[in-house]
Every structure is written in C-alpha cells, then in structure tokens.
Assembly symmetry: C2
Homo-oligomer: 238 residues x 2
C-alpha cells in the first residue's frame, strides 16, 4: 500500500506538521510506503497558466480544460505537475493535511488540485464518481481549526464542517472516483495547549490505526442520475 500525504502549511513546527508526522509514522508501521508532498517546501506554484504546458492546443485563447486535456494526451504537462500526478496515480491512499483558512483550503493546496487534477487523467467523459479514474483509491482530509467543535455544529455561525468540506469531499475526491473517508478534524488547536495537542495526536493515531473500519462518506452514483451528460459536468469553467 502506498500513501501520499499532501501537506500545506508554511511552518515546519506547526501542529499540521505534527499531524503529518503521526500519519507517516502510523501508516509506515502498518506497512505503507508513505510519500509527502510538502507544498511550501517545494515552493509549489499555485496558479494555472501557460507555463503549466510545453504543449499548446490553442495559442489564441487559453482554455484551461482544453489545454490540460491536450497536454495530458501529448506529454505536454510541466515536470512539476507530472511528478505530482504520478504520485497521485500510484497512491492507494491520499491524505490532504491542511489548516482551515477562511473555511477552506490554503491557496497553495487549492492550486495543487487545480493544476494536478487533470482532465483525462483523473476524470473523463463519463468517468466520474463511481466511474472516476481514481476509483479504488481512498482519500482522507485532516484539517485543523481555530474554533471548538461546537462552532461547526448545526445552526452554528460557521456552518457544519461536512458542508464546508463538501466541495472538496464530493466535488474533487468523490468526483474522481475516490472512496472518501470521514475527515479527521483537530479543533481549537491554538488554544489546546501541549496536553490538548498530545490528546489530538493520539486520537489521530488511533483513527488511522482503525482506518480500514471507517465508514466512507456517501457519494452519488452515476446510475442514479440518468439525465447526466458529458457537457453537464466539466469541473473547470472558462
């Protein structure tokens, strides 16, 4: 089994780094080969542009979806994208490790998805959800928050955590066919103190120790949406 941890935090001593290390150690102890993409350390480029491609589909009008599809088919993806895509394709388990910033992913991690989740490679015409190209892989979001758990409860000011993560869980991970495990959320991290942090790390280790027993999040099945058609589902607009 191979695990890819995509880690998005600028501070090597952050609690996110500690969570990353717990996952690496626990999964290695289970016999996984674990690879880490440390996006900040790699100075990963977040914004899609022409430099993503050595190929060119249309020099007059830069359409991201069409250029990605063309580049994927003609070996025109830039090396930094190709490397990450290969890591993703060879992984059995993907862990996204990040702090919740403005109720979503840090920009550098959104950029990893924008640039690496290539049309043709991770999804295709009818190849989404239970037909997605990443079918058979599992995915897991591990996120830290500045607020306590009840701040993400029903009727809360923030809204519910699963709703906030739905565009990522369903729109990215489930969309491409991955089995999406329930997220591990480390709440109230800035106020947890050393003991509280140790408890959270132990909880994450225990969570990963029983990872095979986790019940995946429900995802749509294509068969339940007979009205779906190819042009209905491009996840990159012009």
């Amino acid at each position: 089994m191979k695990t890819l941890i995509v880690y998005a935090h600028p501070e090597p001593r952050s609690f996110n780094a500690a969570l990353r290390d717990v996952a690496r150690d626990e999964l290695q102890a289970q016999g996984h080969a674990v690879e880490v993409s440390d996006l900040y350390a790699m100075k990963f480029k977040p914004a899609i542009d022409r430099e993503d491609f050595s190929s060119c589909y249309d020099s007059e009008n830069f359409n991201v979806s069409l250029e990605q599809r063309h580049a994927h088919a003609h070996n025109g993806l830039s090396p930094d994208i190709r490397v990450e895509l290969e890591k993703l394709q060879s992984a059995d388990l993907l862990i996204l490790q990040f702090p919740l910033w403005w109720f979503g992913m840090p920009a550098i991690l959104k950029g990893w998805i924008d640039r690496v989740f290539i049309s043709g490679a991770v999804y295709g015409r009818s190849a989404i959800f239970d037909k997605g190209r990443l079918k058979g892989k599992r995915a897991l979001v591990c996120v830290t928050t500045g607020a306590p758990a009840q701040a993400f409860g029903p009727e809360s000011l923030n809204g519910e955590m699963l709703s906030l993560l739905a565009p990522l869980h369903q729109g990215v991970l489930g969309f491409t066919g991955m089995t999406v495990l329930p997220p591990f959320v480390a709440h109230h991290v800035p106020y947890a103190g050393p003991d509280g942090r140790a408890v959270l790390l132990a909880q994450y280790r225990a969570y990963l120790n029983k990872i095979d027993a986790l019940q995946p999040l429900p995802m749509p099945r294509l068969a339940d949406h007979p009205g779906w058609s190819e042009d209905g589902m491009s996840p990159k607009a012009q």
Copy 2:
C-alpha cells in the same frame, strides 16, 4: 460609490473578462468609480509566507493569524497586500469575478482572500458578521460554470450552487460584515455559443442595473449566538 472588481482568469479573451467589462461599463454608467484587480495580470502571489511581512512577531514559529495581526498593527504588511487591502477598504461594492474550478475559487483568488483579509483589518474579536469591520459594503460573486443550471439543482451530482458558495458567501464575505448579494451565475459557458454568451452578458447587465433592488442573502446575527466567544471564531487555523 466605488466598486472593486477582483478578476481571476488567465485569459484576457475569456468570458470572465467579458463579464468583468460589462460590470465596469454598467457601474461606471451608474456613476461608480470602478477599479479592477486583475490577479493574473498583476502576477498576484497566492501563498501566504514570511515574505508577506516586513515585521516579525515570532521568528521561531510562523503563526499566520498572529503575524497578520501584528503586521497590520505595526505597518508590516508587504506592499502588494497593503495596496489590495486599501482598495478593499475604500470600496462600497466588491465583485469577485471567477470561473468555478473544482467547485470553488481558482487558487489565485483564494490566495487574495488568504493574504488580504487580514485579522484586525476586516474582522476582530467581536467584530464579525453584523459587527464585522467591512460592514456597510456590498459584495457580489459572479461565477461561470461549465455545466447547465440543472446540474446545480437540488439532488444534483454537483450539489446546489448556494451550498458550494456558502464558505465564500458566509465564511468570508458575510463573516466580515458585508451585505452579500445573490450571485450571478453564468451557466454552461463553454457550450453557450456567441448568441448564448450575448444573452448572458445582457442578463448580467440587467442584473447590475437593478442591483439596489436585490434582496441580500440571509446571514447570521451575533445576537442570535450568545454562546459565541472570541476564541471560537478564528478563521485561520494553525
């Protein structure tokens, strides 16, 4: 009245650019001064790091929220952030113009929010939602999609558009006190053809022409959440 349009698309001939121009023209005709932040043209840096600050709160541990708050209080924000923050603070209306990529903002726009929405400047201790620092401003999301409207309906494969945009609408714009107008969504853009695109542009112009009559989206009020406390609401986790 001043309008700031934050535009996030790499292609100057894109439909997003056409929507941006419609907004600029229509709002100027209404007497607004319109400013555009063209994030790709500006090569706006998306990822928060130490280079965002000339000041330093803690050289040992880079905590984004604490560094932002300190830098804001001590004139330590980098010039590119300061310029954008001043544009935001002086605007009466903020328009975010972007294509829906993976059911959210392009990374470069998420980075604009991560870096410019500074603790202390746009929100504070008890200064969120109806007490937020950006109170009195209006905000409007104009987004393009590759899929038809029904692909974002109830029970759809994609989920409902207002749910997908909730982290932005409520978690960023409403959180900081802005009055959030209903989004303008240009659906199915890659398949609209020249006539369909002309219709969408005319609809957007008409929408902006009646902007003062639009009913804002409902937002939480602090008074309805008496259990709220300062440490419950940091929107940037460690």
